[in-house]
Point group: C2
Chain length 552, copies 2
């Protein structure tokens, strides 16, 4: 069989746009001689639709779009698409996250998703009912089982250490399937690819049948889908892995096996591509064509600007340097050098007049209270105000540049440097920010991000001589503690036992848990790790910080 | 049997504090002759713990607390408490949301929750496994079935029109239960009480057995628990409904039935009490003792201030009036009159110096672009900056005053008037804001909130002569459209069919869906309706606004 992988980038609720794309790809696949083409999970309505699913009008438009697609598709090719299936027995709901096989103007088969992930960023129990049954469809002499994303992951254990009671792949195999097709919307994170290949290979290893796995590509809000659709043959050989982070059509011919060689994971290359796609798609899908960004002369804003330029081109990135009385002279020259390297304009506006006006306005009210974090925050908030003014006036999206380490410990100002629509680096620890900058410079072949930015000690420059390391442990230590606490959910005792100083660990965890209120109001964070701030991590604000109590 | 209802206010993760409270109540119940006392769902660890449950250390502390409580409790009284049960067969997980019966120093019975709500603000499938089995425990010659919150609601249908396949009450009745005990954490919203009484009464109506229902009281982040624990006897008579919105111990004696008379719902009285409790508990549980608030002279900030004063007392509320060139003279006099009525101080600081400095700083960069919403937002953001400066300097929590109608249509400034830790009125439509003010004035017996505030046309006063009604439909119409769209998930067609102008409906829905990015970064909203902004409503930002397309 010649089967096409339709790795497309859909937009949530863009029924006509998504179907037009499916149509174009199907026609191309047919022109290339494919008998069938497979598209990602929920390709009709885009993924994840979230609470749009509570609207009957959404479900109905998705059903109408499916029907129209059926009529519009070339009659001679079968198309497997993802859609929201409404229970025919009841008016509208419950819903199923389903695959439909469209052929010759008709829906010839549907299969609902059996395993509904409810962990991390996934809440599918909120929306869908589990498939009432699993069955195979016959096409081109083959008996094919269709899996929807999580259906392949029955042997996986989630954060709550739960496996699944059923294994849809096993059910299909026991029914005599000689091929598995999987339609997925599996978000990228570092380390995910290896897991995913294992999961797809398990099918041939366990049952000796080939698998065609089609994943979504493109970003929707915080989630970045990396594509990498694949075919694994009956002998567990990976026949093809599609391009990461871009749309692709690939026609696989079972009779002409290839000689694909799997590459090792390129962590920083992947991060680079993922974040570029995340920026580009967020803008495209929200209707923005340009961003603005504040350049402090530090490494975070430098990296964010470099990624934005890669995503949008230098003409669509507007930078602003906003020095204060505490800014060092090299901050401005570094920001200007970076802008020159990136080919972007950088306006310089001092925050001093507004800062002075603010201090003067507050003087009487503050009386003789000494300067403290208040005055530091005022500076950050004036910068945030100016950046939002440019954003409003120019119709550009403000990019937020904070990294995961500082967001974790609350080393950031709400309504100040946290302002913006998209937190580009919000899921990169500071040590990863450094590594990604070095990787970008290696790729560029020169110090695109000036070396002086990479080598100076990080500082918020909100008071004289301020350095990050005065109030935080060195970033290597901080990041390791954060990784253990946030990603592995380890306790203070366990983190300390791994070789860290108890008081340092307690200090860090207190900072993390005490700054949850800031993260609750943060911009969307592009997720690139297995646990990002945002909908994948839900921590109460009003609560006791028990983590550091009674441990000595 | 004499059975005590322990309607307590717990704090998430405050194991020792919660257990101390349980202990105190149990001792009091014993002193009053009770044989058993019942506490709310997850009373050991507080509700909702959310992703703290992903930490083994959290679960272990909860288990240790249960064990210690067992030892500390009076030996002669049985206590039913809620806790996180860890699967004994596996190390730690999966978890159950369980009840334990403690008696004579031992855990004599446990029952896990069967029905796991996964809709609106609830994500229990994310955390818990469903009870593997249901059974009864015998005590004082009775055979008692224990239900955990949702277990009573098997006949309820959720937002996705799903009923449950099992009915734990029915199972208990079929096992011969002669009493049902329910431990709950059922959040308040308008109209909830009536539903809840129906649900509890169903037990005696269907099975002829009495029910003891104990609900949590107190607020945790956005959720406000109203208590109102109750006893319904075997003849479906409501024997007692405990005090709403406050802690209470009530010892019910089966042999001495009472003559309780159910009151009709007092919508605005309830809203008043709910919001006061929401403010008080958020402060207490986050460690704040005072709030600051900006008074515009408008009705929203007036109501928020009145509620804050009721919650905290006038000495703990600090008001600020921040007039600009566009403020009318009555705005200031109204704010001052309100402050006098409330007994709070109100500082007046003009935003003009900062506004002028901002315009001057941006002049060159903005060149000859005409004034637009940018300059309006700058004013709101300067006010937000000043309020946060006071918050930082004085250690007070900034209260956000926006109402649900304006948050819905995006008639609010991100990083401006949206600044703050708690959106007190974020779940009240503007028409409800008016009604609640009138209700508060009636209760006060005079115009506590000055009449001029209630009668002047709403305005943001961000440009000359600006009125809300210039860009929005009248609030009665707006609120009805919003209620249909947000609460009933109705489509543009359906809302129009209910009697609204199509273009007005489309305009409103476009505003709602186009301002999702603002709500994503909003303060916690105190939930008082069946659908509040926040974790109960999850809408993608990057998406097509399909709702208003192709309808004419």
């Amino acid at each position: 069989m010649r089967i096409a992988l339709g790795q497309i980038n859909t937009k949530v609720a863009d029924f006509s746009g998504n179907c037009q794309k499916i149509l174009t790809y199907a026609e191309e696949a047919y022109a290339q001689g494919a008998e069938m083409i497979v598209f990602p999970e929920l390709s009709i309505c885009g993924y994840p639709p979230l609470d749009l699913l509570t609207y009957d009008s959404f479900v109905q438009r998705n059903l109408s779009a499916l029907q129209k697609l059926c009529e519009d598709l070339p009659k001679q090719i079968a198309a497997v698409v993802g859609f929201v299936e409404a229970n025919p027995e009841q008016a509208g709901k419950p819903l199923y996250n389903s695959a439909a096989v469209l052929f010759n103007g008709q829906v010839i088969f549907t299969q609902a998703k059996t395993l509904l992930p409810s962990y991390d960023v996934f809440d599918e129990h909120r929306y869908f009912a589990s498939a009432p049954s699993c069955s195979l469809f016959e096409f081109g002499g083959r008996k094919i089982g269709i899996m929807i994303c999580e259906d392949l992951w029955a042997e996986n254990f989630d954060e709550m250490n739960r496996g699944y009671a059923q294994d849809p792949v096993d059910i299909a195999a026991s029914q005599g399937a000689d091929m598995i097709i999987s339609i997925s919307a599996s978000p990228f994170h570092i380390g995910k690819m290896e897991k995913r290949i294992d999961v797809v290979r398990r099918i041939s290893r366990a049952y000796g049948i080939p698998a065609v796995y089609v994943n979504a590509v493109g970003a929707n809000d915080s989630l970045i889908f990396d594509g990498r659709s694949m075919v694994v043959d009956a002998q567990s050989r990976v026949q093809i892995v599609c391009e990461p982070f871009s749309e692709q059509i690939y026609v696989y011919d079972e009779d002409q096996p290839g000689s694909f060689v799997l590459q090792d994971e390129d962590v920083y290359g992947d991060l680079n591509q993922a974040l570029v796609l995340g920026i580009r798609d967020y803008l495209k899908k929200t209707g923005f064509s340009r961003v603005n960004i504040g350049l402090s002369g530090g490494i975070d804003s430098a990296l964010a600007a470099a990624l934005a330029v890669e995503a949008l081109g230098p003409d669509h990135v507007h930078a602003y340097a906003m020095p204060s009385r505490f800014s060092s002279s090299h901050s401005l020259t570094d920001a200007m050098q970076l802008s020159e390297n990136l080919g972007i304009t950088c306006e310089e506006i001092s925050i001093e007049p507004m800062f002075s006006a603010a201090l003067e306005s507050l003087k009487e009210s503050f009386r003789d209270r000494p300067a403290d974090v208040t005055e530091e925050n005022i500076q950050a908030r004036i910068r945030g105000l100016l950046l939002m003014a440019w954003s409003n006036k120019m119709g550009s999206l403000l990019i937020t540049t904070g990294n995961k380490s500082e967001i974790a410990v609350g080393y950031c100002t709400l309504y100040g440097d946290m302002n913006g629509g998209l937190a580009v680096l919000g899921d990169l620890f500071k040590t990863e920010v450094f590594e990604l900058c070095r990787s970008i410079n290696r790729k560029a072949g020169y110090d695109l991000i000036p070396d002086s930015i990479l080598t100076k000690p990080p500082s918020a420059e909100l008071r004289p001589g301020q350095l990050d390391q005065d109030s935080l442990p060195p970033y290597e230590i901080l990041d390791d503690i954060l990784r253990q606490h946030l990603l592995a959910c380890r306790s203070v005792e366990d983190i300390t036992a791994s070789g860290h100083d108890l008081e340092v660990v307690k200090h860090v965890i207190r900072l993390v848990e005490g700054s949850e209120y800031k993260r609750r109001q943060s911009a969307i964070v592009l997720k690139v790790s297995s646990k990002a701030f945002g909908p994948g991590r839900r921590i109460p604000i009003a609560r006791r910080i028990y983590e550091t109590e009674g441990i000595s």
